[in-house]
Symmetry: C2
Subunit: 451 residues, 2 copies
Amino acid sequence: MRPDDPAAPAGDDRPRGLSRRAVLLGGGAAAGAAAVAGAAFAGGRATAPDRAAAVEARTYPFAGAHQAGIVTPAQDRLYVAAFDLTTTDRAALVDLLRTWTTMAARLTAGLGAGPLGFDRGSYDAPPDDTGEAADLPPAGLTLTFGFGRSLFVGADGGSDPFGLAGRLPGALAPLPHFPGDALDADRSDGDLVVQACSDDAQVAFHAVRNLSRAAFGTARIRWAQLGYGRTSSTSTAQQTPRNLFGFKDGTANIMAEEATALEDHVWVQAADARADTGTDSAWMTGGTYLTGRRIRMTVETWDRSSLREQERVVGRTKGSGSPLSGGVEHTAPDFERAGSDGTPLIDPASHVRLAHPTSNGGTRMLRRGYTFTDGNDALGRLDAGLYFIAFTRDPRTHYVPVQQALAQQDLMSEYLQHTASAQFAVPPGVPRIAPDGSLVDDSYVGAGLLA
Amino acid sequence: MRPDDPAAPAGDDRPRGLSRRAVLLGGGAAAGAAAVAGAAFAGGRATAPDRAAAVEARTYPFAGAHQAGIVTPAQDRLYVAAFDLTTTDRAALVDLLRTWTTMAARLTAGLGAGPLGFDRGSYDAPPDDTGEAADLPPAGLTLTFGFGRSLFVGADGGSDPFGLAGRLPGALAPLPHFPGDALDADRSDGDLVVQACSDDAQVAFHAVRNLSRAAFGTARIRWAQLGYGRTSSTSTAQQTPRNLFGFKDGTANIMAEEATALEDHVWVQAADARADTGTDSAWMTGGTYLTGRRIRMTVETWDRSSLREQERVVGRTKGSGSPLSGGVEHTAPDFERAGSDGTPLIDPASHVRLAHPTSNGGTRMLRRGYTFTDGNDALGRLDAGLYFIAFTRDPRTHYVPVQQALAQQDLMSEYLQHTASAQFAVPPGVPRIAPDGSLVDDSYVGAGLLA
């Protein structure tokens, strides 16, 4: 009734054609503003000098040589969802990726999912944005896309639904079964993944929901996981957070500032495709691999262990996070140093030793995990833990050997259970995109694979 | 090895005896600092003039005539857990409530759960705090406790495990079955409830986890729910948030500033106990009743409905939230006003009309709901919605009739499913407590019921 009824309410006097958040951000100019990674303002907020406003208005550009959400300083919240395709029409897949690219560029810039907005457009059609983030700032949203092995070889592992089998990277090999794995297939794997990170959980959820909505008829959610607290730093500017065991975690993580380490351990190099036999994975150059593991932490058992036992298991002090061999948090652990009784101060089976690059041929991962809690089990124990995410150049060399050693020897394994697993090829970034999300040169996420 | 080993690390040089967060907050003085509801500083942070730091350091006093977490300006995040007692020993229940009271006073002041801290005490005992919030500010934490009907009459409804049947308030009657209810018993009810609200989800989780730990051997978690975004304002200083339908919600909520409405509709009055027959519920004077409903919102269906339909269902515009009868967000809806075609501008079956006090004999609720998402169902639809929480003086008069009308007539019902239900008697506050959480005059949560 509203558009044509003379008695229609007059309270909503915002100019038509402006999309959600664009108003907040200064009339749509935001998407074109230069966004500086770290602490950029997306528009003309009156409260610009204020730190809280700076954090909330922070945006990270969607376009770039690599996808955002990998070395981007880890935001506070995660919403990650895997999708299965419900079609075998390659053109539909390409259309979806084009749409997702445009939508992701808009959402990460603080615009609505579509150009009309959550409360505009035809009154007899659904709005092109769902609206729950309409009054929220961009909150540092990043959206990171990846392709699962089943996209290349089908859910049965032996078909080729989209004619992509010849482009399967060797690095996207199935993960082996690790000791202690108790994987829920319904929460594992998937054809596609979207990792949404933001400092506001509702902004991250809103993004995945609108991408899911755009996928209706082409793909549907296979599993989704909310992470409420980051457990890793990915920049030297960030403080190391604590995990649910109460310890600082990921102290030795690869940081955005370590350019050489990123090339060595995270970004797929041109030479990597040449090592593949029988398939052509050159499209992954500049990309990376996401390994996701849902790790339940049996906090009730942990909480009944002594401080001595906890520090022995971790290999660090609980207070400052310094290695038990001495120093401060970022002091390199000395695995040889013995105490007065002649035994090493850091237990050889401690987590810090087994996960350390020196125990793993020098390989490193870029970790980006989040703490989750999904209620409780029938015994009243919390179903909580770490949604582990690592980005590596090749999981076969950078994740599998480390996890093999941890699963077999790590003292911490007693307090952990891996309940889901997923792995995705994360292609390089989209080089350029228009401020309103329109594609430039038909460049979309995965164009190198599908074009 | 650490305490007695000469080779022990020297990196952790914080003075012994200081508990977690106390360091952050200025050496333990925080708990004694006068905390002003709204925007108090808990201690001497160097960044005090900064808004973000002010928000993070905000504390709300645990002691008071009423419990905190009811009229307190709704924080951003919720972690709510119901517990079942695993004992029938009344003394153990009293001990638990004493411990919870002390712990809650400490945690809400930004101190550790216990006096030793997460990394102190005997090296051969578990720490008395779990540690994951050690580096986090208080973030406006409130903890609100309540008693379920089963505490008074047993899980079977006919026993009296703690000798409390004679103190059962009439207002804690079982809720009727409402049309469309699809309740999961494992996610409903409970002997005790703890509602933790904070601007940081990890702070809220940490509190419940430590309270759960203290309950080991006496009570265990029956269900727990994370809410990631507030959907209600409880103070006129707060902006009305949007729910997952993209609409502003709870515009007509009772606000902390409405002293008369709070007495009329939220706080139990001395006269209320006199209306009970056969039981003595005078201990509830100054308390309130919490009604919790897990309401799944079928967002996929909603997202495919037209803007016209969405606004008709809600009875407000999606943009500004103004009633369809005109005006702005806080304009009173005019349910009589007709459009040019003679029909009311606000549909008689719209949510705003059916939930409005004028349709419910003038009764009002204080709502304090949170948006949740718990993954997805087997069809790939998001399991997301509203964890509805309302505080009322008597659910029989203030909640049941409203929900009866909504369940039968509300156009919105088509898009909702109530999947869990719980109701608790929330006793009045603890009048006084020492800065370190020690009880004063043996006053603890529920002392009026149990002492």
